[in-house]
C-alpha cells in the first residue's frame, strides 16, 4: 500500500526565465577585457605600471631615434677641426644679454697661450652675443652616407662658434663627436646582441630539446666559456684583429667578438626553459600528433618563453655597450677615425689631462645614462615577461 501523500509538500517550481550561467559573478567590461586580452597585451599593461621602466624606455627611444639622424643633430661634423680653438672650455648657453631676453646665444671665446703661466688661457668676449641659429646650413655631410646635405638642427652664429661641451686637443667639438659616437656605441650593442641571441637560441635550443649527450657537450662548452673572465677574453680576441682591416671590418669584428663571448648566459636560460617546457602536456600532445621537433619548438615552445628571451636580451645589451667602451678605452677596440664613446674616453685616460680639461670626461655621462636606462627597462620587461603571475 502506498503511503499517504504528504499535504505540505511543496509544489514543483520551474523558473521559466532564460538561464544565465554568469549571473552569480557578472564580469565588468574591464575584467572581460582582461580575460580576453592576449599575452602580449597583458605584458604591455604590466610594463606600463612600471614607471621607471617606462621612463627608461622613453629615454632609449629618444637615443635610438637620434641615432637615425646624427648628422642633422650635431652642430659640426665629427672631424671638423678648429685650429684656433684647441681645448676650448664649454661655452655656456645663455638667454639674457644685458638683462634682456634675446633667445639662446653664447659668448665668443678667444684662446691664447699665456707665455708667463705656460698654459692656455681663454677669455670671454661678452660684448658680442652669438645667437644660435636653427635649421641652418653648416658643415656639409652625406646623410646616411648617401644624400649630400648641409642642414643642421642648430648651428653657431655666422662666423661664431658653438662648443657646448668644449673642444678636444685638435679643436674638434666634443658634443658633435659624442653624438656621432653614440651612433657607433648604440648600434654595436644591438648587432652584438643579435649575434649572441642567435647563437644562444641555437645552442640552448639544441641542448634543451634533445637533452642527453648533446646537452652534455653543449653544457661543457658553456662551462669552459664561462670560466674565462669576460673582459680579458674580449681583450685577447680584439687584440687579434689584424690592424690592416678597415674601420668597418674592425667594427664588425668587435661586435662578433662581443657576441661570441656573451651567448652562454642566454643559452643557459633557453636550455632550462626548454627542459621544463618540453615536459608539459601541450608539448607531448603536439609530438604525439606528429609535429616535427622544429615545429614543436617554434610553434609551441618558443612563444611561451619568447618574452623571457626578449627581457634577457635587453639586459645583455648594456654589457655589450660597456664591453666596447672598455675595449676602446684601453685602445684595443675601435680606434680613430671611428668615434665611439670609448674612443672619446680614451682621451681622458691621462688623469692630468682630465684635471685640466675636465670636459673631456663628458662622454661618461651618456654611457651611464644608456646603461642605466637599459637596466631599468630590461628589469621592467623581465617583471612583465610572466604576465600571469
Amino acid at each position: 500500500m502506498m503511503p499517504p501523500r504528504r499535504r505540505d509538500h511543496l509544489e514543483h517550481y520551474v523558473n521559466r526565465a532564460p538561464w544565465d550561467p554568469y549571473h552569480t559573478e557578472p564580469l565588468t567590461a574591464k575584467q572581460e577585457a582582461y580575460y580576453l586580452a592576449s599575452q602580449w597585451r597583458i605584458m604591455w599593461w604590466k610594463l606600463r605600471r612600471h614607471k621607471l621602466a617606462m621612463v627608461s624606455g622613453a629615454v632609449l627611444a629618444f637615443f635610438y631615434l637620434s641615432v637615425l639622424c646624427v648628422e642633422v643633430i650635431a652642430p659640426y661634423h665629427q672631424d671638423t677641426r678648429h685650429d684656433a680653438q684647441i681645448y676650448t672650455p664649454p661655452q655656456q648657453l645663455r638667454f639674457f644679454h644685458n638683462g634682456e631676453f634675446i633667445g639662446p646665444f653664447v659668448y665668443g671665446t678667444r684662446t691664447e697661450f699665456d707665455l708667463q703661466q705656460r698654459e692656455l688661457v681663454t677669455t670671454l668676449d661678452i660684448d658680442n652675443p652669438q645667437q644660435v641659429r636653427f635649421f641652418c646650413s653648416g658643415d656639409s655631410y652625406r646623410f646616411w652616407g648617401v644624400i649630400p646635405m648641409d642642414v643642421h638642427l642648430f648651428c653657431p652664429a655666422e662666423g661664431g662658434t658653438l662648443f657646448l661641451l668644449g673642444t678636444d686637443q685638435l679643436g674638434r667639438d666634443v658634443l658633435s663627436r659624442m653624438i656621432y659616437a653614440g651612433r657607433v656605441s648604440l648600434t654595436i650593442g644591438l648587432v652584438g646582441v643579435t649575434i649572441s641571441f642567435s647563437l644562444g637560441l641555437l645552442m640552448g635550443g639544441l641542448a634543451g630539446y634533445y637533452g642527453g649527450w648533446v646537452d652534455n657537450v653543449i653544457n661543457r662548452i658553456i662551462e669552459i666559456f664561462q670560466s674565462f673572465p669576460q673582459l680579458p677574453l674580449w681583450m685577447a680576441l680584439s687584440a687579434a684583429l689584424p690592424p690592416t682591416w678597415s674601420p668597418l671590418l674592425i667594427y664588425f669584428g668587435i661586435t662578433i667578438i662581443l657576441g661570441l663571448v656573451d651567448w652562454t648566459g642566454l643559452a643557459r636560460a633557453v636550455r632550462s626553459k626548454l627542459l621544463s617546457l618540453r615536459e608539459e602536456d601541450f608539448a607531448t600532445a603536439a609530438q604525439l600528433m606528429g609535429a616535427s621537433p622544429g615545429r614543436v619548438i617554434r610553434r609551441h615552445l618558443l612563444p611561451s618563453f619568447a618574452s623571457h628571451l626578449i627581457a634577457s636580451a635587453t639586459l645583455s645589451i648594456p654589457a655589450m655597450i660597456l664591453g666596447e667602451t672598455a675595449l676602446s678605452y684601453l685602445g684595443l677596440g675601435l680606434s680613430a677615425p671611428v668615434v665611439s664613446l670609448g674612443v672619446l674616453l680614451n682621451d681622458a685616460q691621462d688623469i692630468n689631462v682630465v684635471a685640466i680639461y675636465p670636459w673631456l670626461m663628458a662622454p661618461v655621462i651618456p654611457v651611464i645614462v644608456i646603461v642605466l636606462a637599459f637596466q631599468f627597462f630590461g628589469d621592467g620587461l623581465r617583471d612583465a615577461a610572466d604576465p600571469y603571475k
Binding site: Q226, L231, A236, P242, Y329
Partner: protein, 332 residues
C-alpha cells in the same frame, strides 16, 4: 664526501685542458709574432737587428714549428712551472707576472670579503623590512651600483679625488715600496690603498648579492617551518637566525663561481684606470705588443683562477649543505 671531491676534481681536468688550448689559440691568432714585429720596428728605425739572437730565440721557442708542437712545448713548460719567456721584458714570464698575480688575488679576495660584509646585513634588513622605506632606498642604491659601470666609476672617482683633494688615488702602495720585498710596512701600505679598488670593483657584485640574498630570504620566510617556529613562540630573531638564514646563505658560497670572472674582469680594467700593479695593465701591454707567452700565461692564469675558485665554492657548498653532498642540487 671523498667520492664527491674526487669526481669534482676529475671533471676539472678536461675543462682545464680546453682552457689552455683556447688560451694558446687566442694568443696565436694575430698574424706574425713578437719577433717579426720587433724586427720590423727596429729596421724601420734604422737600427741594426741582432739576427743571430732572433734566430736563437726563434729556435729556442720553436716559433717556426707547427702549432700543435708549439702548444705541447708551452703546456709542458707550464706544467713544470715554466711559463715561457717574455720577449718584451727579456725575463722569464714567471718573474714578470709573479707579484702582479699575487696582488690580483689579494684584490679579488678583499673584494669578495667586502661584498659579503656589506651584502649580508643589508640583504637581511631588506628582507625582514620588506617594502619599508629602508628597503626601497637600499634597493635603489643597489640598482645604481649594479648599473654603474665600474671603470667609469673609477674614472669619476679619480677625477673628484684629484679636483677636490688634490691627491692621486692610483696605485696599490706607496711609491717607496714598489719593487721592494714584502714586509710588514709594505703590507700595511697595500691595505691602505686597497679600499678604493675594492669598493670600485665590488659595487656591482654587492648590489647583485643583496638582491639575491633578499629574494632567497623572502622565499624562506614564507615557508611553513618558519611560520610554525614563530607560532610555537620562538622569538623572531632566534627563528630567523636558526633556520631561514642558513638556507638563504647558499648564494654567498655558490655565487663565487659567477662572481670571480666578473671580479677579475672588473679588476683588469679598473687596474688600468687606477694604475694598479695587478695583472690588468701588464696584460693590456702584452696584448698590444704581441708578447705571446706573457699574454697567454695571463689569460690562462686568470681562467685557471676562476676554475679553482668555482671548485672551492662547490666544495664549500658541499660541506655546508648536506642536500648537495648527498647528490641533490643546490636550491639556487
Amino acid at each position: 664526501m671523498l667520492a664527491y671531491v674526487a669526481r669534482r676534481i676529475l671533471v676539472m681536468i678536461p675543462t682545464l685542458f680546453a682552457i689552455s688550448v683556447i688560451s694558446f689559440v687566442i694568443i696565436q691568432l694575430p698574424p706574425g709574432d713578437f719577433l717579426t714585429t720587433m724586427v720590423n720596428e727596429q729596421t724601420s728605425r734604422g737600427e741594426g737587428v741582432d739576427l743571430a739572437r732572433v734566430q736563437y730565440l726563434r729556435e729556442l721557442y720553436g716559433l717556426d714549428r707547427p702549432f700543435a708542437e708549439q702548444y705541447l712545448m708551452w703546456i709542458g713548460g707550464v706544467l713544470q712551472g715554466d711559463f715561457g719567456y717574455s720577449f718584451e721584458y727579456r725575463l722569464p714570464v714567471s718573474e714578470v707576472i709573479g707579484d702582479s698575480v699575487m696582488l690580483t688575488i689579494v684584490v679579488t679576495l678583499a673584494t669578495t670579503l667586502f661584498i659579503w660584509a656589506v651584502a649580508f646585513p643589508i640583504g637581511i634588513y631588506s628582507a625582514t623590512h620588506q617594502y619599508s622605506w629602508g628597503d626601497y632606498g637600499l634597493t635603489f642604491l643597489g640598482f645604481l651600483g649594479l648599473a654603474t659601470p665600474n671603470f667609469l666609476l673609477a674614472l669619476v672617482l679619480i677625477y673628484f679625488a684629484n679636483v677636490h683633494f688634490g691627491t692621486s688615488i692610483g696605485g696599490l702602495m706607496d711609491d717607496r715600496f714598489i719593487d721592494q720585498p714584502m714586509s710588514l710596512a709594505k703590507a700595511l701600505s697595500i691595505l691602505e690603498h686597497l679600499w678604493i679598488p675594492v669598493i670600485v670593483i665590488g659595487t656591482s657584485g654587492t648590489a647583485a648579492m643583496i638582491r639575491r640574498l633578499r629574494a632567497n630570504l623572502l622565499d624562506e620566510l614564507q615557508k611553513q617551518y618558519y611560520v610554525t617556529a614563530i607560532a610555537k613562540g620562538l622569538s623572531r630573531r632566534r627563528a630567523l637566525i636558526k633556520y631561514p638564514l642558513r638556507a638563504a646563505l647558499n648564494p654567498f658560497i655558490a655565487d663565487i663561481g659567477s662572481l670571480l670572472p666578473e671580479l677579475l674582469s672588473g679588476a683588469t680594467i679598473v687596474a688600468v684606470v687606477l694604475s694598479l700593479p695587478t695583472t690588468g695593465p701588464i696584460l693590456v701591454h702584452a696584448l698590444e705588443s704581441q708578447d705571446m707567452y706573457l699574454a697567454g700565461s695571463f689569460v690562462l692564469l686568470l681562467a685557471v683562477m676562476t676554475v679553482i675558485g668555482v671548485l672551492v665554492s662547490d666544495l664549500l657548498l658541499a660541506v655546508l649543505d648536506p642536500r648537495i653532498r648527498l647528490g641533490g642540487r643546490a636550491g639556487r
